[in-house]
Symmetry: C2
Subunit: 384 residues, 2 copies
């Protein structure tokens, strides 16, 4: 057994009865079981587990929970988790990310966590970056850039370790040694998709891989949908990088909105179906448009600390020129020089105004004077 | 002289004293001269013209106006205009587009109009489509598609006949025999840019080319900026297709906002500086995001007539399945069939619920039954 395994085993042996009951319950129910969550909040996990055993639980799903009691062995489960270095994190424990409590009775009963990061620490300043599996090269590029930008500013990137945008987001964060959290829709020990073995291992090295599903569980459609609420809850906001009109990323955005988290979407070509979901979110005012990490932190960052710079175009020599001076600049010939009187006629101004304006333009390097005859200084052509 | 020329000459000879005075004044002042506009509104154009001649006009720019009196000859001007088939359209005349009156004292003194279209008619259901000269192939494509979509729905496309987005917008409208209006920053007889001789001629064939500048005037920076307010005023809204952060298109958008017209922007790749202006407009809530003509008409169209369809993703067989049925679908094996009891255990549900769900899934063609053993019907894999 590895050192990490030994440490994990030690941690597991220190678990309370409530912790063990939560581990057992997460085997009996599916994620996002509101009814069970409410019962656990009211009666406590140990009591709920006991009432399932005794058939006393006041729940329409009692039979379903009981159907899974066969072979349930929390201690063997915890042993097995220790074997791959997983720790159990439950509400109230030190590593529990308090942001999940915003889910109310829909918060996970427990999380199985692997990786060197500290979930509570990582969760404080975190943004979810999600999107299509079948993304475009553009989306992949933007997701990685965005995640790297967040990582560089000390923010953690939360995503789902799926193909496409998710993977690009994790990789972007890892590339700048940023923190990252992968929330799985299967057991934290299951490598899914199997091509992401190395990615998941890299995420564990810099951050954490978490799941509310017990070890060994396979992903299903409802588990993916349930998982999305955890991704949304762990971030201060959710950025959708690319998404078709109906997609898991749109579902995650919906969870973020339900949680009153910031929903953000990255625009893309209107010709790309992979950006249609993003555009629809912005069009319907369900999401704010963001183009980079600075935009994201403008919305979710701490005032004064993370505020982005004001976007400005290039500064040009004729910036701040008043209306009359601009008209004189417009009236200046480009090649053949002209005297002030001629310029005044072209500009439709009196001579005194023209002389004042020429002085200003000369100082700015925009007008060129030779023996009282003027023309434009080179390279200041009229632009729209 | 052509027939059009003869008709134009006839029209011009029917002009009132006010019309002639407006024509003369537009030679003496620059476009968007608010002070002069106020005086004309108060005293009338003829009176203002007379007071410039007599030196009595209460304006700080009197000397400037007077400087241009030399060689002023409205009749020769009108003669010249008739020579290239232009008509003078003034406030109150039949072809005057009333939308320009929203500009108040900043409305043009008069418009010189060429082309077979009727400006008043074209202006009623019109949208301004503007953007960068140095646009990308993407922007050009989107502008043409958008304009064609507007044209197909009977809307007129207003733009500035510049290189890039403007030209693509006019061409898109022309391609579907839609109406289009080119507003120039030079005399309506001046071909600018000179490469657009054929484009301008095509616009005249299907719509109109207009300018508030008298014949022969050259474009200048301030004239471009002044011209943009006319483009914005002629449309019910302004769509910016591509624009750098500082650009004429952003200026036009500003005019549209000042006029309480709808401002719209087309998104594009965040990696493209040519979309940065559009994204900034949307980010700052100065513009609504639009992706096509339907989106535009959602915002500026007439309720019920132009409303676009609701955007939806593809309809899928498992749409509308309730939570429990979805869980049974998830629990169905793909290859090896399983009995209801086994499915119930995997799904975490009681046997009765599973049987009900299997019936629903079977009817929907999602579950496949052989001798009481079930599996998924082909091609309904678990998706996020």
């Amino acid at each position: 057994m590895t050192t990490a395994g030994a440490r994990a085993r030690e941690r597991l042996s220190a678990l309370s009865g409530d912790d063990r009951a939560r581990a057992a319950l997460s085997r009996l129910c599916e994620p996002d079981d509101v009814g069970l969550g409410q019962l656990v909040d009211r009666l406590g996990a140990e009591q709920v587990l006991a009432q399932i055993g005794s058939g006393e639980l006041p729940s329409g799903r009692l039979a379903a929970y009981q159907a899974r009691l066969t072979g349930l062995d929390p201690d063997a489960e915890l042993e097995r988790a220790a074997g791959f270095g997983a720790r159990l994190v439950t509400p109230g424990s030190e590593e529990w990310p308090v942001m999940l409590d915003d889910l109310g009775p829909r918060r996970p009963l427990a999380l199985w966590v692997t990786g060197s990061g500290d979930l509570a620490h990582l969760g404080g300043r975190a943004v979810a970056v999600v999107g299509a599996r079948a993304c475009t090269a553009y989306g992949e590029h933007v997701a990685a850039e965005l995640a790297a930008g967040l990582g560089e500013r000390g923010w953690t990137v939360v995503s789902g370790a799926a193909f496409g945008i998710d993977a690009a987001a994790h990789r972007g964060a890892l590339a700048v040694d940023g923190g990252t959290v992968a929330v799985l829709a299967c057991g934290a020990d299951v490598v899914y998709p199997s091509a992401h073995a190395r990615l998941l291992s890299a995420v564990r090295g810099a951050g954490v891989v978490v799941s509310e599903l017990p070890p060994g569980c396979r992903p299903t459609k409802t588990r993916f949908l349930g998982r999305n609420r955890v991704i949304a809850a762990l971030g201060r906001g959710t950025v959708v990088v690319e998404a078709a009109l109906r997609s898991g990323a749109m579902n995650t955005a919906g969870h973020a909105a339900d949680l009153s988290r910031e929903v953000m979407a990255v625009p893309g070509p209107v010709t790309s179906p992979m950006s249609a979901g993003c555009h629809e979110l912005v069009r319907g005012a369900a999401a704010s448009l963001v183009t980079d990490a600075a935009d994201v932190l403008d919305l979710v960052g701490d005032m004064g600390v993370d505020a982005g710079p004001l976007r400005r175009g290039e500064v040009r020599p004729h910036d701040g020129l008043d209306d009359l001076t601009m008209r004189v600049l417009d009236a200046l010939p480009v090649r053949q020089r002209a005297g002030p009187a001629s310029i005044a006629r072209v500009a439709g101004l009196d001579a005194a105004s023209v002389l004042r304006a020429l002085a200003v333009l000369s100082v700015r390097g925009l007008a060129d004077n030779a023996a009282g005859a003027w023309r434009r200084a080179p390279a200041t052509g009229a632009k729209r």
